[in-house]
Amino acid sequence: MSSAQLEARRRSRQLMAKRIGGQAYLWLLLILLYAPILLIFIFSFTQSKVFGNWTGFTFHLYENLFTGYDSTAQVRVDPNLYRAIFFTVVIAIGAATIATLLGTLAAIGLFNMRSRARKSITFLNSIPMINPDILTGISLFLLFVFLGISRGLGTVLIAHVVFCTPYVVLSVMPRLTQMNPNLYEAALDLGATPAQALWKVMLPELKPGMISGFILALTLSIDDFGVTFFTKGSNGLETLSTFIYADARKGGLTPELRPLFSLIFLTILVLLIIMNIRTNKQMNQNKK
């Protein structure tokens, strides 16, 4: 074997080692990131009230979660858990819907503004994104106290719209810049009313941006803890986040949370895999 061949071999081996090393590093990080989630998943299959205590394999917790009744202990599963799930969903859908409407209108308005006004509003729009949740929460808490508004579902909803809408504006904006600016005018010139022009011409163009904004708002709302904590008041309104926090502070953790989040995680995993397969298929088709 010539020395050139040897050199080439050595190089390819080095490259291989490097790639394997890199892959190994990524997987190691992923294992670390997923270890706690895996723990939740594993311990969703055992009945013990205490998280981390294995008392044998069973689907009991899943059963409890769906029936709302713990047949072994003969007690109801904490009804506050279901209320928390309900309010999390209601608040997320409500806030995301309002944010999408408000944000889309705002984006269209902003797009048609002069650059100075646009700049200052864009700055205002960025404040809720930069502000950490504790400051958004406390500032709104002070506002509601100052105005004498009693805190509850309404105030939480407003608070969630506050930190969700900026992301909707940012997702709709690029669609507007890509859109042909004359389309709307053309529709009006051809006899459409402004409402028709909006509904039939602009909306289809903006839809992808609105959908991604809506989904982003939904996830932000579901995951929020800090803002909800300060705006929910003390009338017993809880979302899953605040419920978990209160639970953890009491010392225990409602065991049914384990199967609940295992199921949420699996659902999202499956959805992402499906989405990924679909986009890959589309990409392949486009190549053909």
Partner: protein, 267 residues
């Protein structure tokens, strides 16, 4: 022409509801923090709230400690996250997006529950719940926020620049330090800000991770609004204002950098 301007001005008004909303629910609340910070519970002007803060060594120390923890967390996330983002962006996997998605996926599980699971992990291995657990938990929670922006900038980078540097005889180390690293600076900055801001202001994670052994500045603020009662709100507002200044300074620093990066891009 008059019709055109009419239409344009009409659409300009569509942003007004949101502007009103922003003024009422973003600007006014922030001004209220300012107002409460400089008043007594009775509503008289005072700077007593700040004097109290600077005279309570425990409070000042907590602020310094929180900033140190946030700083260390940010550095660890950068050291762990940059190589990961780099490997992902440079490797020619069949599906690089899948890897990126895998790093974001944990964020879909409620972060409090994940934090509690981390505590459980520490318990299982018999590790103490102290500073170590706090740092581990914080890095664990915010690592994806570091990886993602860096990965994004590295992925958008023009690959031919690397090839050009190689063709012109740059060594591997030089290609990295003189081409790749400078080009990824915008991503690094947004990663730093995205990790530093939430870690410096967090209040629930520290409580859970250390079983209330360690108090961070965020918890101090939260307590003055929770357990303290109305009498403590003004003090809490003063603490919030200090936090707000730190956040504003951090984000300003990021924006300055952004402009530089854009200018560099234009050149």
């Amino acid at each position: 022409m008059s019709k055109l301007t009419e239409i344009a001005s009409a659409r300009r008004t569509w942003a007004w509801p949101y502007v009103l909303f922003l003024v009422l629910f973003v600007v006014l609340p922030l001004l209220l923090i300012l107002y409460y910070a400089f008043t007594t519970p009775g509503g008289d002007f005072t700077i007593q709230n700040f004097i109290k803060f600077f005279h309570t060594s425990e409070a000042v120390n907590t602020l310094i400690y929180s900033m140190a923890i946030a700083f260390i967390t940010t550095v660890i996330c950068l050291l762990l996250g940059y190589p990961a983002a780099y490997i992902m962006a440079m490797a020619d996997f069949k599906t690089p997006q899948v890897m990126a998605l895998l790093f974001i996926l944990p964020m879909w599980i409620n972060f409090l529950l994940r934090t509690i699971a981390t505590v459980e992990l520490f318990n299982m291995f018999g590790l103490p719940l102290g500073e170590g657990a706090l740092l581990f938990g914080m890095c664990y929670d915010y690592l994806p926020f570091m990886i993602y922006p860096i990965y994004n900038t590295l992925q958008k980078m023009d690959r031919s620049l690397i090839e050009a540097a190689q063709d012109l005889g740059a060594s591997k180390a030089n290609v990295f330090t003189k081409v790749v690293l400078p080009l990824s600076v915008p991503g690094i900055y947004s990663g730093i800000v995205m990790v530093f801001m939430p870690t410096v202001s967090t209040f629930a994670i520290a409580e859970l991770l250390t079983h209330n052994k360690i108090t961070l500045f965020g918890s101090l603020i939260q307590r003055s609004f929770g357990e303290g009662g109305i009498a403590m709100w003004n003090y809490g507002a003063a603490l919030s204002l200090i936090m707000l200044i730190i956040i504003a300074a951090t984000s300003f620093f990021d924006q300055e950098r952004d402009h530089d990066a854009q200018k560099g891009g234009l050149l």
